[in-house]
């Protein structure tokens, strides 16, 4: 047991104590003056809460490493995950806010007045959240694996136990002030190492301004080694793959159930617009820093680690080699570790760089605490989404409508437990790096929910058969393409598994439109409800006329 272990563990426990403390404090207050005095949370804090919900293990642990390994091509993740907020805030959030249902499957079920559509949406929620949570569990495996200096597999097993306990207690979801605290810790844990590295390498404390020259210098180092330049576009995949991946991440962002739900907590359409804007500002802070993190990490690895004698590597190397995610072998046998002989997994770059750059035990521990919060809170939220989709939308609405409250609670608990264990088993041997697994979840969301929601909100003629056929086709096409591209080597225009969402979305939209137009239009009442979404809360559309509510809202 060394100092690092103790400091990291202490910071993880202290930060979680803070989140839980705020949650307990707020629960006590809620019963008294809290709801009476405050009319919802100000948009700026809601923006931070959305940011904390959003930053999962993929953004915090995986992103910078992916940009480092893929170079320019990794920026598709940066643009995709930020650009999607415009689609969400412009095209969906205010309207879904006005429609006022609690979950996305409920919206789809009521908008199309179809139990079948609701069940398909619930199944899609389960598949998407499950895929997403595999990525989170893999992330917690990396953090815990490093903490205890064990294989990442053992780390995943420990993570499963913690998450199962945590999610059964209901997690910390929905409590805005906890999320605000979590955002602040996450962003500090991410920015502090980037700023320190910027000072170390460029003597400039503002990484966003200073790392441009580092990127250019990396290109020169690559040229000397005879490998393709760090920033050269479309080296790891085709331009079409970049575009397909970026589209898939954007549309997926707009269709992800657990993100949309956040907009239901705001009070008006106006608040939804401002919350979306603040959210992207806070999220953008991390996304603007990830490529800087990536550039500094690669620079340090190339300049300080590569080229050193193989028998005198620094202490941190052993600890990371033990997790099974880093290999350093002197394959050329010259006694010197070459850049090409370092095989570093995307997933450990963020966690390992502070150690490599020797930023001190406190910073290293802070990064571990931030990473744990990112992985655990998102995993908790996703597992709760799975269990509520199953126990409420499928079990209660379809299988056993007469189930008692107690019976439903126990179904919910069991489904959390089973989902956690199954996801944990898959995460033991992750089918890809974290960002890749999470990209599949986004591809599935862009193939199922994005078309259903966009057409449901903006096209009153879309009907139940259309949305049912659309979601099924979108789901099947996306899943099939992911498997064919990953395991069958089948690609179109060089688009690989992570870009599958573009095919899912196109086929789902076409199917939805064609089937809707060749079947009966929805009832006048449903069409009126869609017309109603054109106007803000104060206006109501009824029987071809618009009414204004003068009352205080």
């Amino acid at each position: 047991m060394d100092t690092q272990f103790l400091v990291s563990l202490l910071l993880i426990v202290a930060s979680f104590g803070l989140y839980i403390g705020i949650a307990v404090f707020n629960r006590a207050r809620q019963t008294s003056e809290f709801f009476v005095a405050g009319r919802g949370v100000p948009a700026i804090y809601n923006g931070m809460a959305i940011g904390a919900d959003w930053m999962s293990a993929a953004s915090f642990i995986g992103l910078a490493g992916t940009v480092m390994v893929l170079g320019y091509d990794g920026l598709a993740y940066i643009m995709g995950w930020t650009g999607g907020y415009l689609l969400l805030t412009f095209l969906l959030a205010p309207q879904l806010r006005k429609y006022g249902r609690y979950t996305v499957p409920e919206f789809i079920g009521d908008r199309f007045q179809s139990k079948t559509a609701l069940v398909i949406a619930a199944i899609a929620t389960i598949i998407i959240s499950f895929t997403y949570s595999i990525g989170q569990l893999a992330g917690s495996g990396v953090v815990i694996g490093r903490l205890f200096e064990v294989d990442a597999k053992v780390g995943v097993m420990i993570g499963v136990v913690i998450i199962a306990i945590y999610a059964t207690f209901g997690g910390m979801k929905g409590i805005t002030w906890t999320q605000v605290a979590q955002y602040i810790i996450l962003i500090l844990a991410y920015l502090i190492p980037v700023i320190f590295m910027s000072l170390q390498i460029t003597n400039n404390p503002i990484p966003w301004l200073s790392y441009g020259n580092v990127v250019s210098e990396l290109g020169e180092l690559d040229r000397e080694l005879g490998i393709s330049e760090y920033f050269a576009p479309f080296e790891s995949a085709s331009k079409w793959q970049f575009i397909a991946l970026m589209f898939s991440l954007m549309a997926g962002t707009a269709g992800l159930p657990h993100v949309i739900v956040r907009f239901y907590t705001v009070s008006t359409m106006k608040a939804a617009r401002w919350s979306g804007a603040w959210a992207l500002l806070f999220i953008g802070l991390l996304y603007l820093s990830a490529p800087a993190y990536a550039a500094f990490s690669r620079f340090i690895l190339m300049k300080q680690v590569a080229g050193s004698p193989i028998d005198s590597l620094p202490g941190w190397t052993d600890k990371w080699v033990n997790t099974g995610l880093l290999t350093m072998a002197d394959t050329s046998g010259d006694g010197i570790l070459q850049w090409k002989e370092i095989a570093i997994s995307n997933d450990i770059v963020v966690m390992a760089t502070p150690e490599i750059a020797d930023l001190g035990v406190f910073v290293i521990g802070l990064v571990a605490a931030g990473a744990m919060a990112a992985a655990l809170s998102t995993a908790g939220g996703l597992l709760i989404a799975i269990s509520s989709s199953f126990s409420h939308d499928i079990y209660y609405r379809i299988i056993n409508p007469r189930a008692t409250e107690r019976k439903r609670m126990s179904v919910a608990r069991w489904s959390i437990l089973i989902a956690t264990i199954v996801a944990g088993v898959v995460a033991l041997n992750p089918p890809g790096v974290i960002t890749q697994i999470v990209a599949w979840a986004f591809a599935l969301a862009s193939g199922t929910f994005f078309p259903a929601l966009i057409l449901g909100v903006w096209w009153k003629r879309a009907n139940a058969p259309g949305v049912i056929a659309g979601m099924i086709v979108g789901l099947v096409v996306t899943l099939t393409y992911i498997f064919l591209a990953k395991y069958g080597g089948f690609t179109i225009l060089g688009i690989i598994d992570t870009g599958a969402g573009i095919f899912g979305a196109i086929s789902a939209i076409l199917t939805n439109v064609i089937v809707s137009l060749s079947t009966k239009p929805p009832s006048q009442k449903l069409q009126d409800e869609v017309m109603d979404l054109r106007y803000p809360e104060q206006l109501t559309f009824k029987d071809g006329e618009v009414w204004k509510d003068d009352r205080v809202i």
Binding site: S216, P233, K239, K270, P291, L539
Partner: protein, 99 residues
């Protein structure tokens, strides 16, 4: 509840749609547009970055954030113009949509 002219309500809706369409054009240009012309942009540099890399890592994200705030601000102005300001007190006559 007060009935208001459908034409005015539609004008409100079209004003919002126009705003969103313009903002999405910018969105498309700084994301997909920059990727389509990445090889051309790579010949220029900005603040030490090759330009295509700068756009992907910083430029486009900053533009996204600005577009969202512009949308929130202009949408508020549109609401105001059509007398849809959210007020805790009753709207006065001059602010209603009645024509």
């Amino acid at each position: 509840m007060k009935k208001i002219d459908k034409k005015i309500a539609d004008a409100y809706f079209h004003a919002r749609v126009r705003l969103i369409s313009i903002l999405l054009l910018f969105w498309f240009a700084v994301s997909f547009g920059m990727v389509l012309f990445a090889e051309t942009l790579a010949e220029y540099t900005f603040n030490g970055f090759p330009l295509h890399y700068f756009m992907g890592a910083q430029g486009s994200i900053v533009v996204f954030i600005i577009l969202l705030f512009v949308n929130a601000y202009i949408s508020d102005r549109i609401d105001q113009k059509y007398g849809l300001v959210e007020k805790r007190v009753k709207a006065t006559k001059g602010q209603t949509l009645q024509s």
